[in-house]
Subunit: 113 residues, 2 copies
DNA sequence: TTGATATTTCAATAATAGTTGAAATATCCT
DNA sequence: AGGATATTTCAACTATTATTGAAATATCAA
């Protein structure tokens, strides 16, 4: 991941409404949420939501697809993981770093195998 | 960690020079680097570095201390870990998330036990 | 104290970001 | 086709961000 894309991704998340939107999408799962739903949840004008979600999309943090007259946005978990990877990769460069740095929701048995 | 501080931290990192400065400090370790050293490494004016590093400090991502006529800045590893924690905590909310999401310098056997 | 070094503060300017409402585009339903 | 719904695009405006150079502050060394 290039530094420029990291800056874009961080910039996309560094705004109240966009961070909130992204969290809603992360929690919503792969099906995502409609633009209108997000605008309503965030209590901002549709054009404003469109402006913000476009930046998340441009940063590659969310994907979009049409479903009827709605456009559904969904979090891109791979991009999220890449961003985390970049930051953590450059963290702890030999230094003693906080061990609880990563907090997956569930450690899950399948990964231990 | 509050959403507002996360936005501030992300915003602090979402800029070419600041991201570069932070990475240099992360790699430099606890001793940190002098403001002048950073300005030179990033090839920007001292006043510009001062402007940027102040934002990283304001976001709590770096600490500062005087050493002679120099002011040394150092990465705050705890703040970094907190930021990671906030983001990963809200990632994978029950969803199947990329397992390679976290990349500590060393996976280390002690965690497998 | 004087002069040199290291950094910050300030003011001015240029560029970017965010909001709003109106108009344009796409889809659905009858 | 015609009307309603969902979203985006556009233009105008305000606010914030980044850069520069000059002046101010703090430290050191003679």
């Amino acid at each position: 991941m290039e530094s420029a894309s990291v800056v874009r991704a961080l910039g996309a998340l560094a705004q109240e409404h966009r961070l909130a939107a992204f969290r809603l999408l992360v929690q919503a799962g792969p099906d995502g949420l409609a633009a209108g739903t997000l605008a309503e949840a965030l209590d901002i004008a549709p054009s404003s939501l469109s402006f913000h979600i476009a930046q998340l999309a441009n940063a590659g943090l969310v994907s979009q697809r049409r479903a009827g007259r709605s456009i559904l946005y969904a979090a891109d978990y791979d991009a999220m993981a890449d961003l985390m990877g970049f930051l953590t990769e450059n963290c702890c460069g030999g230094m003693p770093c906080a061990p609880a740095q990563c907090k997956p929701a569930k450690p899950s048995e399948k990964d231990v195998a």
